[in-house]
């Protein structure tokens, strides 16, 4: 409503858009050999140091690869997984939530029981066990993280669908002969959409973290392909001599998550949507 709140929203949206653009378009603008190994230029510090390498403003890593290019390239992978999985999770969650909330009955019971059970178990352990066996190609990671994020959108949309189903105008429309499909499209979806966008932003933040954790453990994106998580895990080996290797991806992860959460909060306030993060936590209790 008020100015400073919207400021946070626009700032988050802008930063997130900037990060995304930089990661997806940036590598194309950099010189072709930027990501190549150059063993003579190992562990060069960032631009403020006199030892800095011209053309590598963020320094180089243990193989002499340019950190700017690595960070952007890694961001592309991390964001692909984060955006992709969050979108998948929200689509599945909305479908399940709307159907469960609208129809109720055994479907509702089943979906909610599944959600409870799913939340009760540490997701990272499930993810690790799966990755250990199936491997961690990009599609596998995206599918896995989709499963990691489906509960929140399901719960939130279900609550709304339930409420809308019992509104007088919906009951009236149903009485006038409107089919379930029509009611869901015409009355439930428009009310669900803003909230779904809010949930999507929060989910992006959460999933970027999980992808980071998996890759950091060496069980996510596999090393020649960079991702913020695995660059950080390389960097931890060089904390004493070349802290910047871990610092850049760390900054990017934190910035992305802050902005994704900020975007979610901003949208929520703007549209006066219910506090989905608390709702998820509270409903999980019983």
């Amino acid at each position: 409503m008020s100015r400073p709140r919207d400021l946070g929203l626009w700032l988050s949206l802008g930063t997130l858009a900037a990060i995304t653009l930089a990661c997806f378009l940036g590598p194309a603008l950099l010189p072709d050999d930027a990501g190549q190994q150059a063993l003579s230029e190992r562990l060069r510090p960032p631009f403020w140091s006199p030892d800095a390498l011209a053309g590598s403003p963020l320094g180089t890593d243990a193989f002499g690869r340019d950190m700017l290019s690595r960070t952007l390239e890694g961001g592309r992978v991390s964001l692909e997984v984060g955006f992709g999985a969050a979108t998948g999770a929200v689509l599945i969650g909305t479908l399940l939530g709307v159907l469960a909330g609208f129809w109720g009955g055994w479907l509702d019971k089943l979906v909610m029981a599944l959600a409870d059970v799913w939340l009760a178990f540490p997701f990272l352990v499930i993810a690790l066990a799966t990755v250990a066996v199936v491997g961690s190609d990009l599609p596998v990671l995206i599918a896995l993280l989709t499963l990691g994020g489906w509960v929140l959108p399901t719960r939130v949309t279900r609550t709304i669908a339930q409420r809308v189903r019992s509104e007088d105008y919906v009951v009236a429309a149903a009485g006038a002969g409107a089919g379930d499909g029509y009611l869901m499209r015409r009355h439930v979806l428009p009310q669900v959409l803003p909230v779904v966008l809010v949930v999507w932003s929060f989910t992006v933040g959460a999933l970027v973290v999980i992808e980071g954790a998996l890759s950091f453990l060496g069980l996510g994106v596999k090393p020649p392909t960079p991702s913020w998580g695995n660059i950080m895990s390389d960097g931890t080996l060089y904390l004493e001599t070349a802290w910047w290797i871990a610092a850049w991806p760390a900054t990017m992860i934190v910035l992305t998550v802050v902005c994704a959460n900020g975007l979610g909060n901003g949208l929520r306030r703007r549209w006066a949507a219910p506090d989905v993060t608390r709702q998820g936590a509270k409903e999980a209790v019983r």
Partner: protein, 326 residues
């Protein structure tokens, strides 16, 4: 308030949902045991379907005879369903086989590191309560500036993943200042950084929860009555407002434990802290499936126990839930 009909009491807490006529504890237990069973089933089929476990065990230089021997030894030549039934039987008898590498009993190798993880989780929960509640009070009651600062700090704490915070802590306190050991386990000093890395998120969650509960409770009659009787605002806060916020905070913490365990896996690996998470990841890298299965099982049982005990504690803490919902 206390004399309100059950419906009103329920509306104040969680939405009352119709469920089977099981005791709430029994229902939770049943649900969680089914979860565990589902998880183990998933694990079983993933391992069996993803290739030939015998080939993994025997290594690349194995002869066909050796492979055959391992297969018969593990019962891998039986039909999948028979293997599954045998596997479930083993789980019931708590027999997960022996570690492929150390030859140690898989379950006891996991149980031997469980206390370290318990300690880490316990110190994290304690930290999140001891630090989170005052932070929450500041968030809800302090002046504009302090509130804004605390809000920003909590936002950051919620956004920094545990492994990023952990790396930062190692850089500052181990590499630069040399105050704390960067890794290891067994001494109190090795517990400090893993706890901080793990607790930051939980502290922020607890603080927000406390703040939200305090704000929600602000208009309640019992607070007005307390003020009217001349209680200082400090006394109202600590004696009346906070105790009423506690059940919600406690039940949020119970839910949090499963997130904490996820975080603990990463933090333990980062700090080479010898707990169950590190054992799990080591076993995954070594393709030591018996240990992987045992670790997943133990983590599952741990979650079940925490949920049951936590639910019971919340009930004890909040007589309203006991009377209204049970």
């Amino acid at each position: 308030m206390t004399g309100a009909p059950p419906a009103a009491a329920a509306a104040g807490g969680a939405p009352a949902r119709r469920r089977l006529r099981l005791g709430p504890v029994a229902a939770t237990a049943l649900r969680l045991v089914l979860t565990l069973l589902g998880l183990l089933t998933l694990l079983f089929f993933l391992v069996r379907l993803s290739g030939d476990p015998a080939a993994v065990l025997a290594g690349p230089s194995a002869t066909p005879e050796q492979l055959e021997e391992i297969r018969t030894g593990l019962g891998l030549d039986e039909p999948l369903l028979a293997q599954y039934v045998a596997f479930l039987g083993d789980v019931v008898r708590l027999d997960f086989g022996t570690s492929v590498f150390s030859g140690e009993d898989a379950l006891s190798s996991v149980l031997s590191v469980l206390p370290a993880t318990l300690l880490l989780v316990l110190s994290t929960v304690l930290t999140s309560v001891v630090v989170g509640i005052p932070c929450g009070v500041v968030l809800a009651r302090a002046g504009r500036l302090a509130r804004g600062g605390m809000g920003a700090a909590m936002t950051l704490a919620q956004a920094v993943p545990s492994f990023v915070l952990g790396v930062g802590l190692i850089f500052v306190f181990a590499v630069q200042l040399g105050w704390l050991p960067a890794f290891g386990s067994g001494t109190p000093a090795t517990l400090v950084m893993p706890t901080i890395a793990l607790a930051a998120f939980a502290v922020a969650r607890t603080a927000r929860m406390v703040a939200a509960e305090l704000e929600q409770g602000e208009g309640h009659d019992y607070l007005r009555t307390a003020y009217a009787k001349g209680a200082s605002s400090r006394r109202v806060l600590w004696r009346h407002a906070l105790p009423n916020a506690m059940p919600a905070v406690a039940s949020a913490l119970v839910v949090e434990v499963s997130y904490l365990l996820s975080g603990a896996v990463v933090v333990e690996v980062l700090f080479a802290y010898n707990g169950i998470g590190k054992r799990l990841v080591d076993a995954i890298f070594a393709r030591d499936y018996p240990v992987v299965q045992a670790a997943v099982f133990v983590i599952g049982v741990f979650v079940i126990v925490v949920n049951l005990v936590g639910d019971a504690l919340v009930r004890a803490l909040d007589p309203r839930t006991a009377r209204g919902l049970a």
